[in-house]
């Protein structure tokens, strides 16, 4: 059951994995220790409209965390936000439920990948840091 839940959650977080399972379920699910019933269930599930809804909900949840703490930064990079977040989620597929920690991790990732941002990238990252500092101050008040 643990492997099934892991695979199901990974599918909900990754439209790319869903497409891979549609294309070749045996290969795409090979890394999960699934029994035949579980494998068959997931191979069918990726064709359901509901899996698309799960993927959308997952992305909404993750964006909410960042947008709650750093809305000005996200607004500033709105034209490229989708590409930036796709790249960030590719590197960090596991959701951090604590919003401030998720934002701190995102900022650290931006510092490692400043080329994903337009110029002046350093100032955009500094804005994100100021928003995070304000959130941390609010939480500790």
């Amino acid at each position: 059951m643990a492997a099934f839940q892991r695979a199901y959650a990974d599918l909900a977080s990754s439209p790319k994995l869903c497409l891979a399972v549609r294309d070749d379920p045996d290969a795409a699910l090979a890394s999960y220790d699934l029994d035949e019933r579980e494998r068959s269930r997931l191979a069918r599930a990726v064709w359901q409209r509901g899996m698309d809804a799960n993927c959308t909900l997952y992305r909404t949840t993750r964006i909410t965390a960042l947008n709650s703490v750093a809305p000005l930064t996200l607004g500033l990079i709105r034209p490229i936000l989708r590409d930036v977040l796709d790249a960030y989620w590719e590197d960090h597929p596991v959701h951090e439920v604590r919003f401030a920690r998720e934002t701190a991790r995102f900022i650290a990732w931006l510092e490692e990948h400043p080329s994903v941002l337009p110029e002046p990238a350093g100032e955009i990252i500094a804005l994100a840091r100021r928003e995070l500092a304000a959130e941390e101050m609010r939480l500790s008040a």
């Binding site: 959650a9 799960n54 909900l57």
Partner: protein, 296 residues
């Protein structure tokens, strides 16, 4: 089927509202609601199991809402992850108990879903609440975890039916049978979310009233009402405003047949307040009170 009342000694509260960031001015009005439903996880920061006794830290601005309200309270959790194939988190359950005792919660509840997944010997967040198949092994896991919560909190415990977007047609049992067995085997009751049920009727062609026929309605202690919206061709439980008419029809059907019902809770997401308004909120509460007054 006949069960003991899963609500135990809890009061019959009436009509309440789910606490959110904007609700304080509304509940401050005399008689606005009869009780407050609270998601405790929004009122604290969980700093992780490694923090020991300092793990859970109040968020003062949120806790102030409870201190000011003076209303009876019920706890509605989102972090137990009752259907997860991971060990129960004793620190989280201890916090559930401490919170319930501190605010004298009439009962506690959690969703039938998993939000945590195994990651080696640890657990990690799934990123959203997912509904597991209605299988015997999921039922056994959920029953065991509910019993643990009841033992350690000494409070009534309710399981909420979830909206699900993916279906597993080869589940061991139907959803209603799963919920009935959960109550019979755990000693817990049901928080019947009529909007979640409505989502499933829209998305999967389930008959809501037939679903009520299949449920042991003596297990229903609390009802949730909400509104929703379209999401990629499906209907989502987005808490976006007043409940749609079919949800009110389900409520009217239910209250006449749920002898142990103790509360009807309206929940909306605070970002939708500009559309709903406090007047709209009051209208929902008034209509729910008419249904409450008509109960058997």
């Amino acid at each position: 089927m006949a069960h003991a009342d899963p609500g135990g000694d809890a009061q019959r509260l009436g009509v309440g509202i789910m606490a959110n960031l904007v609700i304080a001015p509304f509940i401050a009005m005399d008689g606005a609601v009869d009780y407050l439903a609270v998601t405790p996880d929004m009122f604290w920061i969980d700093q992780g199991a490694g923090e020991g006794a300092r793990r859970f830290k109040d968020i003062p601005s949120w806790v102030a809402i409870l201190e000011a309200s003076g209303l009876p309270m019920v706890s509605h959790h989102i972090g137990l992850s009752i259907a997860s194939a991971i060990p129960t988190d004793p620190g989280y359950v201890a916090q559930m108990a401490a919170w319930a005792a501190r605010w004298r919660a009439q009962w506690l509840s959690e969703h039938l879903a998993f939000v945590s997944i195994a990651d080696g010997h640890d657990a990690t967040a799934a990123g959203l609440a997912l509904t597991a198949p209605f299988d015997r092994d999921v039922l056994d896991l959920s029953v065991e975890r509910a019993r643990y919560v009841i033992e350690h909190t000494q409070a009534p415990f309710l399981l909420e039916n979830s909206p699900y977007y993916v279906t597993f047609d080869d589940s061991d049992m139907r959803e209603a049978e799963f919920l009935n067995r959960f109550c019979a085997e755990s000693g817990g009751g049901l928080l019947l979310d009529l909007h979640n049920l409505y989502c499933n009727t829209v998305n999967h062609g389930v008959s809501g009233h037939r679903f009520l026929d299949e449920l042991d309605l003596a297990t229903v202690v609390e009802v949730h009402l909400a509104g929703g919206s379209e999401l990629g061709g499906m209907y989502a439980d987005s808490h976006s405003g007043a409940p749609p008419e079919p949800v009110w029809d389900l409520l009217d059907d239910l209250v006449a047949r749920a002898p142990n019902l103790r509360g009807i809770t309206f929940e909306f997401h605070d970002s939708y307040l500009p559309q709903l308004g406090f007047d709209g909120t009051a209208e929902v509460i008034a209509r729910a009170r008419r249904a409450w007054d008509a109960r058997a």
